[in-house]
Amino acid sequence: MESVEFEVLKLLEENARMKDEEVAEVLALPVDRVREIIKKFEKEGIILKYKAIVDWEKVQDDFVYAIINVKVSLTREKGYDDIAKRIAKFSEVHAVRLVSGEYDFQVVVKGKSLKDIAFFVAEKISTIPEVRDTFTHFVLRTYKEEGVNLFEEEEDRRLALVP
């Protein structure tokens, strides 16, 4: 990938609301070139979506998140991809990752209450024939999300003028 294209991706990953004109100014590129690059990435599915990172705890969100570690047994007919897709298609499921170590999948589930999630896991995840075991960890507080600290940044303590 050309390095300017890479630069565009990095800027948008940091701030998806950056205007095309600003991206152009910052990278010293013509604005048409920037639009062309972004279009291309959207078309190729490299840029998937533009989302905000929300600190839901600040708006007294009613949602509960849980991390479910899932162990599975593979069969000739069903590999990791098949099982993962089956889990991922539930709207309650926020993220699915195949991981190394003691478990096979790490699944993040979003629900309205602890009970809600517990039932979802019991009824929908545990009942998948290849799933051997599930371990549910409810999230109590989030400190960092997508590289963003969810606590107050330090204040700028520099003097107002420095030679």
Partner: protein, 382 residues
């Protein structure tokens, strides 16, 4: 007792920035583009090491020259700027400021001449004058770049020392290897010792910084100054270093032993870790470079401006507004709450310019650029 303060100190001019500083401090909601230090935090890995060192009780003096591991790290690190050196040639100082003072005191006798290209950082000239030396300034207008002819024009001055700072504060100017070779020719012909302040070396946007000491025949003529303030945001921790030829090294070390003893140990421990975090520097450099592009684009719509090659400063020419540097800076502060430093604070030939430090978050930078534009439209002469 009629005279308490020594004459040479009394005769020293106070820093031109002081008066302006007082104006800025009293005001609320100022966007300051006058801060000559990074806005990024010190990398957390470095902070962790320093915290941990305090817990373990590393609070003593270090050897005068600095911690062995740090000197070794610096010697290895400096090869990236083309310099082969040994830890034995390095003194860890309390910032570049101390290093420059040590070198000038080591080299300058009363009556000796130091050549200082202007506009430049505020401390070189007074430090020469305190030693009874004569600071001969070289106005580097209009491009703020020193070259062979310019330097040879000062042959008659009979100078001993040249102070060179690149990438430069306040102009952002830097030099390619080819340009440095020309300067080196003049340095040889004039038999000069060069004090090379390379504190902004990591913040070079046109390839890799080349140290003057890396050029053929220069290693015995150049004293290198660098440190951790700008590249690693460690300004208040006061860790810099000098790499000097043996005779100059010995002289500087004597003064350092008497006046500073050693650089702060906490900062030195942080610096050892900092040298392992060069990818953090890459990240910060990339961000400064984006801001530079943005600032140059915006300013060039209003002013004449040379694209800075390094550091985090832009030095646009504002004389088209009909205002002097100070009138412009004061007006901009009073009317639009944006602080910049008037160019004449960095030498007479900086008049007609302002220094903009873009070590500021992008959102604020955007707002500041809008306000500068408004100010020029409202108060500049057509």
């Amino acid at each position: 007792m009629s005279r308490r303060v020594a004459r040479r100190v009394e005769e020293l001019k106070p820093s031109g920035i002081r008066r302006f500083f007082d104006l800025v401090v009293g005001r609320d909601d100022v966007i300051s583009l006058g801060v000559g230090e990074p806005d990024f935090p010190v990398p957390w890995r470095v902070r962790e090491e320093m915290i941990y060192s305090l817990e373990k009780g590393y609070t003593s003096y270090t050897s005068n020259v600095g911690l062995p591991e740090l000197r070794e790290g610096i010697a290895e690190y400096y090869t990236r700027f083309g310099v082969t050196t040994m830890p034995e040639q390095i003194i860890v100082t309390s910032g570049v400021s101390e290093g420059v003072d040590l070198a000038i005191r080591t080299l300058i006798e009363p009556g000796d001449v130091a050549l200082i290209p202007e506009p430049c950082y505020v401390s070189y000239k007074p430090l020469v004058e305190i030693c009874g030396g004569e600071a001969v300034t070289i106005p580097t207008v209009p491009d703020f770049k020193l070259d062979y002819d310019m330097l040879m024009g000062y042959k008659e001055a009979g100078a001993k020392v040249l102070v060179l700072n690149y990438p430069a504060n306040p102009t952002g100017v830097s030099y390619s290897k080819k340009e440095l070779e020309e300067i080196a020719d003049a340095v040889n012909e004039l038999d000069l010792i060069v004090l090379s302040d390379e504190i902004y070396a990591e913040l070079t946007y046109t390839g890799r910084h080349v140290s003057l000491a890396a050029l053929n025949g220069m290693e015995d003529r150049v004293v290198i100054f660098n440190g951790f303030s700008k590249a690693f945001s460690m300004t208040g921790l006061r860790v810099g270093y000098v790499i000097a030829p043996p005779d100059i090294f010995a002289g500087m070390l004597k003064i350092h032993q008497y006046c500073m003893l050693c650089a702060p140990i906490t900062g030195q421990i942080g610096a050892i870790e900092a040298l392992k975090c060069l990818d953090e520097v890459d990240r910060m450099r990339a961000e400064y470079m984006r801001r530079r592009n943005f600032v140059v684009k915006r300013l060039s719509e209003i002013f004449e401006i040379k694209k800075p090659e390094g550091a985090f400063y832009a030095f646009p020419k504002i004389s088209s507004t009909g205002m002097s540097s100070e009138e412009f800076a004061e007006g901009l502060l009073m009317k639009k709450n944006v602080a910049v430093v008037p160019g004449n604070a960095f030498g007479e030939c900086g008049e007609g310019h302002i220094r903009i430090a873009y070590a500021v978050k992008f959102e604020k930078l955007k707002e500041a650029m809008d306000r500068i534009k408004e100010f020029v439209e409202e108060y500049g002469k057509g």
